[in-house]
Amino acid sequence: MPDSTMTEITRFTAPGDAPVSRVLSVGIVGAGEIVSRIHLPVLSACDGIRIAYIADKNPEAAQSVAGSYKIAPLTAADDLAMLPQTDVVLLAVPVTARLPYYELFAKRGTSVLAEKPLAVGACEAEHICGLYPEYSLACGFQRRSYASVVMARLLVAGNWFGPLRSISISEGGLTTKTGADFRFYDDATSGGGGVLMDLGCHSLDVAIYISNATEAIPVEQRFVFDGGVDREIDAHLTLRTVQGSCEVDYFVTWLRPTKNTIELRFENCTIELPCRPSPDIKIHGGQNGRDVASLVMKHAGAATIYQAFYMEWMAFFDGVRNCQASKFNARSCLPTIRAVEALYKAGKQNP
């Protein structure tokens, strides 16, 4: 890390320095769909913050989104230093364009919540994590706040059903209607496209998060590529956990219907979580696995998408105020980022 960055990092607040309930100013870089449809409605409902600006390289997009929320629009020009100083920034521009922003905000001592993926690869992600204190950089794997995921992590950590033997992930669907031009989906070089990067990394992160794994190693994989964009992946991975290892059957697709569930297999039962936000998980037990019970965990986590993003933001804001890393901190996402990269690497060598 360059010395200048080391010096600048000291500008971040040290534990105990920050008044716990101060109003945080938030800047938003990127005015795409995820910002206008998800982040802004959620941020407008958060207490203790003030949205300072929305910047986008497309002035019309910035104007249109910012106008709806009565926020100042800015054009993200080449000179990034023109962006006003804020406590927090939401970074929601294509991943290939993010590095200068990360460097700028790190120098300023601004905390950043970045939409996933954090970076184009694991090396870059590690470099970016090194620029920030742990509490000050988060990555948008908001499924960690789902009530079902919170409960699953709890019962795995507490060994409620004995050791976790394996995980089976099946996610996706026959995605035919795109709803917009979404041309970046079709561009493998933009880093936004592909079923693994766009959708599958979420369920992979859930598996890693629930099992508290430190590493996910691809064992075998089958990719269906479409002009360089992955549309389906069928893989087998091994998760390294403190307790040992755990096998993962991993299937994500945009080419056919799937169950959209994550199954955690224990010796005498299987726990089934829906991929969507939910307060319930199903427990399949008995000899044939047909005996089903439901565990409902109300108020322990998110049961809707907006709740999930709200919990992500509130945890991040609390972390920034108290200088304590939230469960969304970017370093904790590194195993997922490495696993995605390893899968792509293996898939491209041997599709």
Binding site: G179, V224, G227
Partner: protein
């Protein structure tokens, strides 16, 4: 060979129609999607697709200018009404302008125009928008000498349709409850019937006009559920939708105020405790009656909560039956679905491998 362009081929209906149409003799299907993400499923099933924005006049000419028939399933649905309105009108303008001179054009509309949900004619915004675009479409076609067909589609049934998946899942779960014992007309149409209508437009030159694409004679909901139960080889178990008594529902009745008060009290223990003091001043018989009423209300609340968790609701909407302006003579849905089979890989798991020879898709 008639070349038939399917606009919005990546939508639910467009996808299934394209796949069922591809094996029809004398028809060459040209699915059109905005981007390669949308067309991935069709291409993975061996269909060559064209990509571009039909709303752009220049791109539209490239996409459909050489087609003998154009069928439009494309619809903008961003949830921003003004943007959708502009885009849907632009799609129609651009499509009509780009179509080969004299080519028949089919505009897929909806039975929501008839407001089947309502007792009187008051369409929802989707129905009204479609009605307005229909009129614009007919006017533009008349001005450019295209043969205009408007197909007002009912609930579309087919292997790739959400409603079909829902029906199958209800049959599997064994809990099917239908309004009017399932004997009310379903206002449904099968994808194969849409294909048959397109084939007739392409090959038989029927009279242009506005048609309701609903199974004719109409299938009642029971027919639809029986059809899918037979497909699944499962018995169809019909349930009665539970009518849960809700203490709030009869507000006008003489005891309603008392019940509501007791319901409130039953849920506010601190208040109940304090009122008990005043109750002691009332005669014993009144005390007794109030206590029993309180127990009755509490029991009803708890039992209703239990009933609510087991309540079986109607599987389908109780819509008005529509009189159908049918599109000529058509075989029954069973025959049509067999005539235009769906040849594609829609296995639900990795064990159901799609039929393809390699691991890459063609992006022609």
């Amino acid at each position: 060979m008639k070349r038939v362009a399917i606009l919005g081929a990546n939508g639910q209906v467009g996808t299934e129609v394209s796949l069922r149409l591809r094996d029809v003799e004398g028809i060459e299907v040209v699915p059109v999607a905005r981007n390669v993400s949308g067309s991935a499923f069709l291409r993975s099933n061996g269909m060559e697709c064209r990509h571009g924005r039909i709303s752009d006049p220049t791109e539209a000419r490239m996409l459909i200018g050489d087609c003998d028939v154009v069928v439009n399933f494309a619809v903008s649905n961003t949830a921003i009404p003004s943007a959708d309105r502009d885009m849907n009108r632009q799609i129609v303008r651009s499509m009509v302008a780009a179509a080969k001179p004299g080519a028949p054009i089919v505009f897929a509309s909806t039975i929501m125009i008839y407001a089947p949900v309502m007792k009187f004619w008051l369409p929802d915004s989707y129905g009204l928008e479609k009605l307005i675009v229909e009129r614009m479409f007919r006017r533009l076609c008349a001005a450019t000498h295209h043969r205009a067909f408007v197909f007002r589609l009912g609930h579309v049934m087919g292997d790739l349709q959400n409603i079909t998946n829902k029906i199958r899942s209800e049959i599997r779960d064994g809990k099917v409850a239908l309004p009017h014992h399932g004997l009310r007309a379903s206002n449904t149409v099968f994808t194969a019937a849409i294909v048959e209508a397109i084939v007739q437009v392409a090959q038989a030159a029927p009279k242009p006009g506005t048609y309701d694409l609903i199974t004719f004679p109409q299938w009642v909901w029971l027919d639809v559920y029986k059809y899918y139960a037979a497909q699944l080889d499962l018995p169809l178990q019909l349930w009665r939708a539970a009518q849960v008594r809700d203490p709030k529902s009869r507000l006008g009745s003489p005891g309603a105020l008392m019940r509501r008060s007791l319901h409130y009290l039953a849920n506010h223990h601190a208040l109940t405790e304090r009122l008990t003091f005043f109750l002691a001043f009332l005669p014993r018989s009144v005390n007794q009656r109030m206590y029993l009423r309180y127990l009755q209300t509490r029991a009803l609340n708890e039992i209703n909560a239990l009933r609510q968790s087991e309540k079986v609701e109607f599987c389908v909407e109780d819509w008005r039956e529509l009189r159908v302006r049918s599109f000529g003579q058509m075989a029954d849905p069973v025959t049509l679905m067999a005539r235009y089979p769906l040849r594609c890989a829609i296995g639900h798991s990795r064990s159901d491998e799609p039929e393809r020879s390699d691991q890459t898709l063609s992006r022609n």
